[in-house]
Symmetry: D2
Amino acid sequence: MIKVGIVGASGYGGGELLRWFANHPEAKVVAATSKTYAGEPIGKAFGSLAHSDLTLSDDDLSSVAGCDVVFLGASDDAAMCMAGPLLKAGAKVIDLSASFRFRECDEYARWYKSEHKAATLNAEAIYGLPELHREEIKSANLIGNPGCYVTASILALAPAAKAGLLDLNSIIINGISGVSGAGRSKFCLDYHFSEMNESAWAYKVGGTHRHTGEIEQELKALAGEEFKLTFTPHIVPMTRGVLATCYGSLKSACAAEEVKEIYKSFYKAEPFVQVLDGLPITKHTVGSNHCHIGLAVDERTNRLIVVSAIDNLGKGMAGQAIQNMNLMFGLPETTGLQAVALWP
Amino acid sequence: MIKVGIVGASGYGGGELLRWFANHPEAKVVAATSKTYAGEPIGKAFGSLAHSDLTLSDDDLSSVAGCDVVFLGASDDAAMCMAGPLLKAGAKVIDLSASFRFRECDEYARWYKSEHKAATLNAEAIYGLPELHREEIKSANLIGNPGCYVTASILALAPAAKAGLLDLNSIIINGISGVSGAGRSKFCLDYHFSEMNESAWAYKVGGTHRHTGEIEQELKALAGEEFKLTFTPHIVPMTRGVLATCYGSLKSACAAEEVKEIYKSFYKAEPFVQVLDGLPITKHTVGSNHCHIGLAVDERTNRLIVVSAIDNLGKGMAGQAIQNMNLMFGLPETTGLQAVALWP
Amino acid sequence: MIKVGIVGASGYGGGELLRWFANHPEAKVVAATSKTYAGEPIGKAFGSLAHSDLTLSDDDLSSVAGCDVVFLGASDDAAMCMAGPLLKAGAKVIDLSASFRFRECDEYARWYKSEHKAATLNAEAIYGLPELHREEIKSANLIGNPGCYVTASILALAPAAKAGLLDLNSIIINGISGVSGAGRSKFCLDYHFSEMNESAWAYKVGGTHRHTGEIEQELKALAGEEFKLTFTPHIVPMTRGVLATCYGSLKSACAAEEVKEIYKSFYKAEPFVQVLDGLPITKHTVGSNHCHIGLAVDERTNRLIVVSAIDNLGKGMAGQAIQNMNLMFGLPETTGLQAVALWP
Amino acid sequence: MIKVGIVGASGYGGGELLRWFANHPEAKVVAATSKTYAGEPIGKAFGSLAHSDLTLSDDDLSSVAGCDVVFLGASDDAAMCMAGPLLKAGAKVIDLSASFRFRECDEYARWYKSEHKAATLNAEAIYGLPELHREEIKSANLIGNPGCYVTASILALAPAAKAGLLDLNSIIINGISGVSGAGRSKFCLDYHFSEMNESAWAYKVGGTHRHTGEIEQELKALAGEEFKLTFTPHIVPMTRGVLATCYGSLKSACAAEEVKEIYKSFYKAEPFVQVLDGLPITKHTVGSNHCHIGLAVDERTNRLIVVSAIDNLGKGMAGQAIQNMNLMFGLPETTGLQAVALWP
């Protein structure tokens, strides 16, 4: 049984890891930490775990000593501090922050307006998107786990980028997210039920969202060329779910069916990516680790439009993190991850 | 591996059974039927199962021949017809309709305005609420699986009824339900998102809801006396969840803490019922098989108020049905039912 | 043109007054104050008023000097301090807090756990429910404007109390409210969209909600007898709307149609109360000043069940306050209040 | 007092017209027709109008005889049949269908896959977007009233198109709509509350949405050049609201502030269009006739991104129709349209 530690377990990412691990036959959460709830039963932080006898520990390294794997649900700064000692102590580390997602520390600094504080570690970190980096993940000790918009966007565009179908500089990604993507602590009037309900808006318009760089990094690697894209996130009144609608000009005319074949072939062995005949619906993935992808070609304008849907806390966070863990520990990749989306 | 059949698998009850069974280590759905989707892959009925290779069969008995257990998600009439042949063929039957929930066929006829068509079978059916009928369920072949309001209400009032705390004729149950309780096919303008969203209403006011008789039946058996209660259901704009707020006059003054002890003691060995120190929140149970209960005493009026929360499709339907199956097949009661509620 | 001042204009009550006054042909908001937004255009507090050129003033008395009527959307303490000077300066005052809702200051102190600080003023305040106190309101200078649960509950029970139909001590009121009832500033994790959405719960269970005393006061006056009731509020995932489901034992058997006639007769001249043949739906009142009432008799238990629906910020707050103002200034009662509920 | 007739009054457009007219001081609905509810009080179709004494008439021309203006909320075919006789009888006609929105009947036929049946009338119809066609509307007798996506999109892009800022062929419009946009009768399982709630999806992906042609028509006229754009609509779980996020490549680098000045200048005299310093939020427009616009420039990719928000049933339908009526009858344009959005 793999001994699991979770740092920052009272946020949405931590809670979601606890939810998934309740059904994992080969791993058990033995330590979970929280600044806010240290010393309290986990049921205080999550009423959904009222029946659990797990107690939240102080939010420091000693709490997770002896764990085989530690999931870091902390700030970037905390993650950069904690990852080193944990690795030295022999634990594998899966980091949910942005700390270890960029191959180049400079690129991190550019998007996060802050110097990277663990450059050496970063050099050995692997980007935790199994569909693109499966083999490296298997032997990794430190994973930078991608976020929700990024996972949805890269999975939507990877086959097209790889196949060279698109004029990459034409790419526009229009993201729609549920409110849980804003996290549990970032709690402002905007997310008050009364104000958020029955409303929709765009934010960080104009290329300033930090996920942009991460998406470009992975697509560049696949396509082998430099480019810049536009990414615009939106928030709508639902709790979970990310829908990425991705637009790109086709280099040459190409029927939708042809593109679909390229996509189906690209993902044919993937347990968690389904290329649909129709279009994806976020709710079909809520609570699961699946990514659904649909696509069409706008023949009037010669654009490819790919739409992908995931649960931002599932494949967009905790589910993917466990998928990485399974790979790192030599388990079948789907172990403990076969949950079907809640419907309705 | 237990071979499972589901009749009427394209409704919400059927879909929920399929969702739960995806994580059940000792049982496997080998046949699922649907009038509407016969011959289609299950992904047509539920996009959440796009990755499944199960195909829906014609909606008749031959489709589920050879199953060890059959869950009936059909109409009352169909259930009364199908149960007999299935039992004869050696299958155990768990019926999700109202057909086998009443000890007295007359009582069924009174509430459902229709003669009972399988009186002999009804005599051997067991009411599938494990917290009250565990031992009988273990040896049962035919289960009448209770519905959502009923499960929430009975679990909220059983300890008080058993302990004789209440003037039973004073009982009023105020139920609040999510919209999925109306089912997938009962599709009228009332449930159109645009009209249902941001709205709340009461329905079947004045004692006409058919669940009333079922609640009375079980509480009478516990208390050993006749009585009549008032039950008023409400619908509010959420998908899943039932909250039952139950009022009853205390026979003699009794502190809330005292009552709470009686409740904690009554449910102390139950894996799926938690008596809280605070008050329950429906969302803490969504996607799980748990029932959360909280209570208070209104000292000004000497009333006990017990509030219970469940997922109407979990403990209120499919989760409970599988809990019954586990008992009938000698499995640990919690097998495959350890899912934690989705939060947020 | 009546010169209107609003103190505390950046809360939901203040915003709603501004919304209603935009369509009032005989009154104009000339001053609106806010601690948080002093000096800012109103569009900063409410994006819905981006087109308005009103600027928010400092939150003190001088800001509303010269107004014919001042609406106080402040705390109880502030209201008790400000009402006197405003009245002395010749303004009429309509107070949205609880300060002037109780005939007896002792009763206020009992429910609000705080001494009443303006007993002399309280003696001349009128309870602002036009359907019960129309004539007194016409000549009043100071109004204690009732809250949402209270308005819905009293309107639901007044005809029955007046007609002596009920055993008053049997009354149980089960209230359901949208989230805006919690106000704009009371901002805790409970109301975070992600946690509130898809959830329902009861709160202040056991007779501790402060609105209880206010409901009892008005029904006692109508019935001419002492009694105590139980009131249990619930919150559900919608923004606006209050549904009060009121239960009471009939003194003697009485058909629903008979009771309905009593209700229709009681409210026959009321422009804002509709006694329906069916049951009310909160959404039918959202954005309006209407109260919809429906009822049934549970013949098995001899209980009358009356259900009423209002918009908590309309008839439950700002609409009613303007209705009071119209009466105080000799205007037709419906002036500026003819808005139809938003549907869908 | 202008005598108003509404054909097809039991749909969302009709109901919204009735809501708006309740506050219009210069016009009165004297006839409203409905196939479904002919002979019934309007309260049957809309519970929000339970207090109204209007009765719905049979759905034919005689019902609206003698009206000064008739709003057609019927199918395209019915509108093409009815408009002629109504005009002949001296009524002005404002049509909510697509029948009279295209300058070229061929263009109508291309997008609607159906021959235009009233080409002569179409030649005299005016496109009812007051911000672009105010003077023609003033003297028009027949108006083709634009729909919701179209209004939001054209208002978002008109100033840029007029000023020649954009490479028009690069335009991508990503629309997000509330569910009421699907209408009251188009009632499929997709819009069932339980399935639509907590979900988001794209539809008609690949340039097949019929509004595309209408947007192109108006922008072409402003820019004076041919082009083709991509429009992708999305549906999210809210009732009202349209958000159009519009992307276009700038012909030459241009600071956001510069573009904003162009926009503010373009709309400076418009009572219902606000160019914001920040970004629009759909809920700030719900229930109103306002359009909010915000914009940014993505300097990395040299794209202009303009976001606009409206209420799809307000400025996107009924509010705009009344704005047209005001112009046609020489009333101040804002008469009866000053409602402020419901907040929260």
